[in-house]
């Protein structure tokens, strides 16, 4: 690890929502939440349900404004106070949702190419890159299929490479593998780690599964109940490349699992 400046800094972040009539404010959902992420780091975030995990990601992705606090990207605040939100921060922040959010009327390949079309970057090099990614996750041969014709795991893979294809420096992932069966889930985790090790993007990965948080991350952050802040920051010193199928047998695993589980209560 080099001691470079953090890529992303979150400083004293807070969020509460206006009530329906706009006259009163809800209690704080997130308060005094601070952490930073360095370039190329894989950070997993774990917390009890209702801890405002999705709210946190929405603020980082610039689809929701924080009530207080500052988010800095490469040392600069992402938004002047009162300025309009810029979702995705000019394609610098990718977002893999809990649902696959594929466009049902587009074939797999057209879904993967959608961000490039939106950004006006649809050229031969982009198509070649999309094809490479399709191959890397075993979707070759399914280019012309519509999402409803794919399995849940394949749809997830398509959603994942749709984000990778335009190469955003930061990727946010909101419990992306939550709804999958155990076997498909391990395959997708392996795919993700392989792609990450090849490209070394910065990833913020939210999960409610402690084993998944340890298996994937360089670091695991533990969130408290609302008002949410960080109550644990654990370095996962399990060497890479990791074998996800016997990571549970690693000597460090049990200790980390116990410490984190005690905090997640």
């Amino acid at each position: 690890m080099t001691a470079s400046a953090p890529l992303l800094e979150i400083d004293d972040l807070g969020k509460r929502f206006a009530s329906r009539d706009g006259r009163s404010m809800s209690p704080w959902v997130i308060q005094n939440l601070s952490f930073s992420v360095s370039d190329g780091e894989f950070v997993t975030i774990i917390g009890p349900s209702g801890a405002g995990k999705s709210t946190l990601l929405n603020m980082l992705a610039q689809t929701d404004a924080p009530s207080e606090g500052i988010i800095r990207f490469r040392g600069k605040p992402v938004r002047e106070p009162g300025a309009k939100l810029s979702p995705g921060l000019d394609c610098q922040i990718g977002y893999v949702f809990q649902d696959d959010t594929l466009l049902p009327w587009r074939t797999t390949i057209d879904n993967v190419l959608f961000p490039l079309e939106a950004q006006g970057r649809l050229d031969d090099a982009a198509r070649a890159r999309a094809n490479d990614l399709m191959k890397a996750v075993g979707l070759n041969g399914f280019e012309r299929y519509y999402p409803h014709e794919l399995s849940g795991g394949m749809r997830k893979r398509a959603a994942l490479i749709r984000t990778l294809v335009y190469d955003p420096p930061i990727i946010l992932m909101d419990e992306p593998f939550g709804a999958l069966d155990a076997q498909t889930r391990v395959q997708l985790q392996e795919d993700l780690l392989r792609l990450w090790e090849a490209g070394r993007k910065t990833i913020l990965f939210i999960t409610h599964d402690i084993a998944e948080a340890i298996a994937l991350g360089d670091r695991t952050l533990v969130l408290s109940r609302a008002p949410t802040h960080i109550i644990g920051d654990h370095r996962i010193d399990i060497p890479r490349p990791r074998n996800l199928r016997d990571i549970y047998a690693m000597p460090q695993f049990a200790g980390l699992y116990e410490t984190i589980r005690a905090q997640v209560q």
Binding site: C91, D99, T101, P104, W105, T107, E117, T163
Partner: protein
């Protein structure tokens, strides 16, 4: 296998209906209920003399223009109102009221305004089609998955691209549901406007036959109208199936708002 079975059963139903029709003709008398064969012969004679084409094309013109003039704004307006929630809230009760008006009751008024020519028939058809398409499309625009729009914004899509590539395709099935329901109403609306006052069209043929006590001609005209409705329906369904190939088969044939004659 399954499909062949369905076709066979349908033919069976046609045979049954013709048999019932023949039976009704025997018991009521050929004057009140003409038998199927003379009706087909009369229709054939009308087709041969070119009379059928002349009247049918008139009705078809009224239906098609009304379909276009009513359907186009019905399909476009919900997209504009989506961006203008205030205007939408103001107009809402009036649109619901307009949907509720029995459009055929407006036909005499349209004839007063536009005369007994094609224009008044187009107006009746357009007023029926507009509301059916408008409310179906509005339902489609409201049913758009907000997550898909959010995803598109995150990957850098402009509002114009989102409208074309996300909102429009997800509303198309609803627009087609509106069009599918409107098709028979469009032709029916044109025919009934012709019944009220016209000197051409299939509705006029029905009226003329009844005035001359020629039930065979009435039946022949009604048969022609039915065949045209079936043809138009098949056409709309065919276009829909082509455009909506991406949908899982079970999602087709969703219920749509209907009524409004």
């Amino acid at each position: 296998m399954h499909k062949a079975r369905t076709v066979f059963d349908r033919v069976l139903v046609v045979v049954g209906v013709i048999a019932l029709w023949q039976l009704a003709s025997f018991s009521a008398g050929a004057y009140w209920v003409p038998a199927p064969w003379p009706v087909v012969q009369a229709l054939w004679a009308m087709a041969m003399s070119g009379e059928l084409a002349r009247h049918a094309s008139y009705t078809f013109q009224a239906a098609a223009w009304g379909f276009l003039i009513g359907g186009l704004p019905g399909a476009v307006l919900p997209f504009i109102l989506r961006r203008m929630p205030r205007l939408s809230a103001i107009l809402d009760p009036y649109l619901v009221g307009g949907y509720g008006i029995p459009k055929l009751a407006l036909a005499p008024l349209f004839i007063l305004w536009f005369g007994i020519g094609l224009e008044s028939k187009i107006a009746v058809v357009a007023s029926v089609v507009f509301f059916l398409v408008f409310f179906n499309t509005t339902a489609g625009v409201r049913a758009i998955d907000a997550k898909l729009v959010q995803m598109a914004r995150l990957v850098g899509a402009s509002e114009w691209l989102i409208a074309r590539r996300v909102i429009w395709p997800s509303a198309v099935p609803f627009i087609f549901a509106g069009l599918r329901v409107s098709t028979p109403y469009a032709i029916g609306g044109a025919v009934i406007a012709e019944l009220i006052s016209s000197n051409r069209g299939l509705g006029y043929l029905v009226q003329l036959g009844a005035m001359n006590f020629k039930t065979v001609e009435v039946f022949a005209a009604i048969l022609a109208i039915t065949l045209i409705v079936i043809g138009a329906n098949a056409l709309v369904n065919g276009i829909e199936r082509r455009l909506l190939r991406w949908r899982p088969a079970h999602a087709l044939n969703k219920d749509a708002a209907s009524g409004g004659m």
